[in-house]
């Protein structure tokens, strides 16, 4: 039974439904892998009892002949940004350490309703701010992959969903939730050789997800196949009146409609993504992707996204601005940490609490956001960034007059060693150069693995679709998956 942890979402669900194994056996197998992988530090808390209880409920339902949900019997990892009732929810920040929500996020509730169970809460960059999972209060997450160059450097699993990517790549979970603000699903997926999709902004409810930048934040699944992502996204998405930006639109049967035949479809290749100094292996992987999509019947066309170079600077105004507003709520009064120096008043308590509770990257972004929103600077920074955001969206709209989906690399490099970019925030931010534009435009975007580079590390390809057209993104992702033959796994060292 040890190979149960090699199964993906759909294989587990179908196997449980067919009686090939029980949901409890699956949960036990994954709980064991989680317990044996402390070296990866992928989880902040583990909840084996939650996984077992959900599994037992599924097994009982099956025995009673009741209908099973689309995630029945699948134990998953939950990024610790989703509020889970009675289970510590921290956003990987000291300021929320010990916080146990009295309610459940919409997305996690939908997953439990579909029959999934929770293996634990996954580590992440603090408040999802980071690209290497090094800003967590609960320590770095280790990428299960290591380079084959003889060195033994521990690599970053990407971020912010670094616990999610590491757990799925290491077979600690068949799938995990992620959230994506500027690339936090796609970049870690690329760094660990797995798949992940950020749907159209508004597809998944943000209710109960710790807020970072509300106009960008979007939840999505991370798993080891495109089909598993489609199944899980179907369980996560849907209209929620509790989120004012939730899309009031039916959820298509993405998994049922998967189709890798791309005849009659056009794939756009954005020339601005071919930047000077881009790693030759990243470009070769992109060329592979182009060939695979042609082989699937698609026509490849050149498109232009002229404002691409301005996406990252616009993002680093918009996201910190929203974060500075959203994180004003951590004041030491209603929940979380309180630091009350002897004799301090209310204002001193706020400042001391926030100084003690937030990590350096979070402080940097809150302060940057405070600055760009402050009187006298608002128009020069924030309004200008929101105008540029309009132009970036317009670029995509014009490109989609000529094509159905856009293919690009997910990241400019493969996974880098922990500590490599920690002293230079700008170098870290540049990691998201390919992923941020789709976030600013609210578009569905996915990363799928393409190949290993010369160092034996996975690379990812990114697909960006029209708003609401997750199906095209998934279909093109499937076409790549079927042709890449990517089945490499990290060698177990943890």
């Amino acid at each position: 039974m040890s190979d149960l942890t090699n199964l993906g979402v759909k294989a587990i669900r179908d196997g449980v439904a067919a009686g090939d194994f029980t949901a409890r056996e699956v949960a036990e197998a994954f709980n064991a892998n989680v317990a044996a992988a402390a070296d990866l530090n992928a989880f902040i808390v583990t909840t084996p009892e939650h996984a077992l209880a959900a599994a037992d409920a599924v097994d009982a339902k099956r025995a009673a002949g009741e209908e099973l949900g689309t995630m029945a019997g699948v134990p998953i990892g939950m990024k610790d940004l989703f509020a889970t009732r009675g289970v510590q929810t921290t956003a990987a920040s000291a300021i929320l350490e010990g916080f146990k929500p009295e309610y459940e996020s919409t997305v996690s509730q939908k997953l439990w309703d579909a029959g999934a169970g929770m293996l634990g809460k996954l580590n992440l960059d603090q408040f999802a701010m980071g690209s290497s999972n090094e800003t967590s209060h609960f320590g770095n997450v280790a990428n299960p992959w290591k380079a084959n160059d003889g060195g033994n450097a521990v690599l970053a699993p990407g971020g912010s969903s670094g616990g999610s990517s590491a757990a799925v790549a290491a077979r600690l979970a068949p799938a995990a939730t992620g959230t994506d603000t500027g690339g936090s699903i796609r970049q870690p997926a690329a760094f660990t050789g797995i798949s992940g999709i950020k749907p159209t902004y508004g597809r998944c409810s943000r209710w109960g997800i710790v807020a970072f930048a509300s106009s960008l934040d979007q939840a999505g699944p991370m798993a080891r196949s495109v089909e598993d992502c489609a199944v899980m996204l179907g369980a996560m998405a849907g209209f929620d009146p509790k989120d004012s930006t939730s899309l009031d639109a039916p959820v298509p049967d993405w998994a049922g409609a998967l189709n890798a035949d791309l005849r009659g479809k056009k794939v756009g290749i954005p020339k601005e993504y071919r930047m000077d100094g881009t790693d030759a292996e990243i470009l070769a992987s992109w060329d592979d992707g182009i060939a695979w999509l042609k082989d699937a019947g698609a026509e490849v066309v050149d498109v232009s996204l002229p404002h691409t170079k301005y996406a990252l600077p616009a993002y680093y105004i918009v996201a910190p601005a929203e974060a500075s507003s959203n994180l004003a709520r951590y004041d030491g009064v209603r929940y979380g940490l309180r630091d009350l120096p002897e004799g301090a008043g209310l204002q001193d308590m706020y400042a001391a609490t926030r100084a003690a509770g937030f990590g350096p990257e979070v402080k940097r972004r809150i302060m940057l956001g405070t600055y760009v929103l402050s009187a006298g600077f608002y128009d020069a920074y924030y309004t200008q960034a929101m105008k540029v955001r309009t132009l970036i969206q317009r670029d995509f709209n014009e490109a989609f007059d000529k094509c159905d989906v856009i293919l690009a690399p997910t990241t400019p490099t493969a996974a880098f060693p922990l500590g490599d970019k920690l002293d230079d925030p700008l170098a870290m931010y540049l990691n998201d150069v390919f992923s941020v534009p789709a976030s600013l435009a609210g578009l569905p975007a996915m990363s799928v693995p393409s190949r290993l580079n010369a160092k034996g590390l996975p690379l990812g390809l990114q697909l960006v679709g029209k708003a609401m057209d997750e199906q095209m993104v998934l279909n093109a992702g499937l076409a790549i998956e079927q042709r890449s033959g990517f089945d490499a796994q990290p060698e177990k060292w943890w």
Partner: protein, 100 residues
Amino acid sequence: MSVTREQVAKIASLARIKVDEGDLDHFVPEFNAILGFVEQLGEVDTSSVEPMTAVIPQHLRLRDDVVDADPLTGGGKQAEVLANAPVAEHGFFGVPKVIE
């Protein structure tokens, strides 16, 4: 545009984050590097462009004007609201004295 040590200290105060001299030593150059990077947005001609207000076009919904229409977000949850408070007394959040 670059910011001075005094400006960064002022921003920290506006953001209600206590910083010491050591924090400022690294925040000031980091800030200026990031601001130098975002400065390039000034190159873009946006004179005829509206700032984005909603990334996906939506109409704002009104909920039914009914008390506790959704029990999850309705009232009557004092104990739950206070459950995670660092200090809760007599059914309220406790804070240091604000009026002398």
